[in-house]
Symmetry: C2
Subunit: 222 residues, 2 copies
DNA sequence: CTCTCATTCAAACGTCCGTTTGAACTATGC
DNA sequence: GCATAGTTCAAACGGACGTTTGAATGAGAG
């Protein structure tokens, strides 16, 4: 049963997603399942069954379970990193940015850009958050490698924006910012599945930014 | 080869720990290994080998892998919960406590009491922090069940101490406090294994408390 | 049609997993 | 001494895991 709908052009302007390839389906399902159960807690069989693919497809398209995770992380982080770089460029071009501007330019791409687009956004966010704090150091480093380039620039800019705080203190605050962002992305902080009226991504972003700005401005040692 | 040293009394006043029982060795190693690799990432075989115990000993003494984890969590959290309750009682007896006093009374038992006593303290802290954010909801709830009783009291007291902030906002800040504490306990925030001069538990506690106090006092919406 | 190359498939590989079994061992009370 | 209850042990259980294999299937080029 040939799945492919039509030979067609690239622009089926009506909403007919060009039929996902096996590779794409694997990445999509991997995002969802890894985000739910973590890396160790999710089997390739569970992923391939849900993706309606053969178990061997993972090793054919990616090479191994870990390579599948790596590909999924890279794909999920790409737009976030791009948007963060863009915002940082823009801020620095306009002169010395404030701490709040920097925090906002870091948090919003992580929460909004990823939480916005309906159901899938929340899945991607949870996936990223989960990988960032996976129990295995190996997995965590795999995630860190995907963010590091942008990170260093933000940390440096923050230290310039907060000259009164000691560099180690700014780094401490920066680590806290990374951690809190990942925690909210992973949704591990919301105990009750419902009732969290902060789950509106816009409100959550504003609350988190206000929380962090106050901490950075007045909670760091000199 | 009978392991037991002597029949002796309970008070071998010199430092001769009465020879750990299999049960105790299993709990100690479980703390260490679960803290390193997470629940899914750590096998009972790895634990029993390290504890010089037979693999069947886990099911004999605890019943299952999950029951071993539960027992380890309960044992690790007991002194923390006790100390938190004691401090909260003391604060409330002296009148309306401030937000800073409450935050300190929550953070310090989590960091200090557990980080103080040499090498083992860091192991226990990492174990607790890891379990608190395990990928599996089941495991996280298992941990939450061990803290919940004290938690509710702290949240209520915080809301009283911060009447100008909306209750949801205080709850939001409270969740952030839990998260940051667990992250520092799990040591997932310190990227480099060394070089973290904040690893001195006392300094870390002070930095974290200052960070949180500023955020609670000025970073919550009305 | 034929050849080619990419993709999919069922099946099996060896390994490790948590758990169970039933016998052996130990200490204590009678 | 014997009986008893608590503990340890080697061995095996069935099942799930990530990975590999080699044949089947698909579409496109000549």
């Amino acid at each position: 049963m040939p799945e492919r709908a039509v030979a067609g052009g690239k622009e089926s302007s009506v909403d007919t997603p060009p039929v996902e390839s096996t590779r794409e389906r694997l990445l999509n399902i991997a995002e969802q399942r890894f985000g739910e159960g973590g890396y160790e807690g999710t089997s390739l069989r569970a992923i391939t069954v849900a993706a309606a693919a053969n178990i061997a497809a993972v090793n054919y398209h990616f090479g191994s379970k870990e390579a599948l995770l790596r590909a999924a992380v890279a794909r999920a982080m790409a737009p976030v990193n791009t948007e963060r770089r863009r915002r940082l460029d823009q801020l620095e071009a306009a002169g010395q940015p404030t701490a709040e501007q920097l925090i906002r330019a870091f948090i919003e791409p992580g929460l909004e850009l990823v939480l916005r687009r309906g159901e899938r956004g929340a899945i991607v966010a949870r996936f990223i958050g989960r990988v960032a704090f996976d129990p295995s150091r190996r997995i965590r480093e795999l995630y860190a490698a995907e963010t590091d380039p942008v990170e260093a620039r933000y940390l440096a800019a923050l230290q310039q924006a907060l000259p009164r705080a000691a560099p180690e203190s700014v780094a401490f605050g920066y680590a806290n910012m990374l951690g809190l962002l990942a925690l909210h992305q992973s949704q591990a902080l919301s105990r009750a599945p419902d009732a969290d009226d902060l789950e509106d991504p816009g409100k959550l972003a504003e609350n988190l930014i206000a929380f962090l700005v106050a901490a950075f401005d007045r909670g760091l040692r000199a």
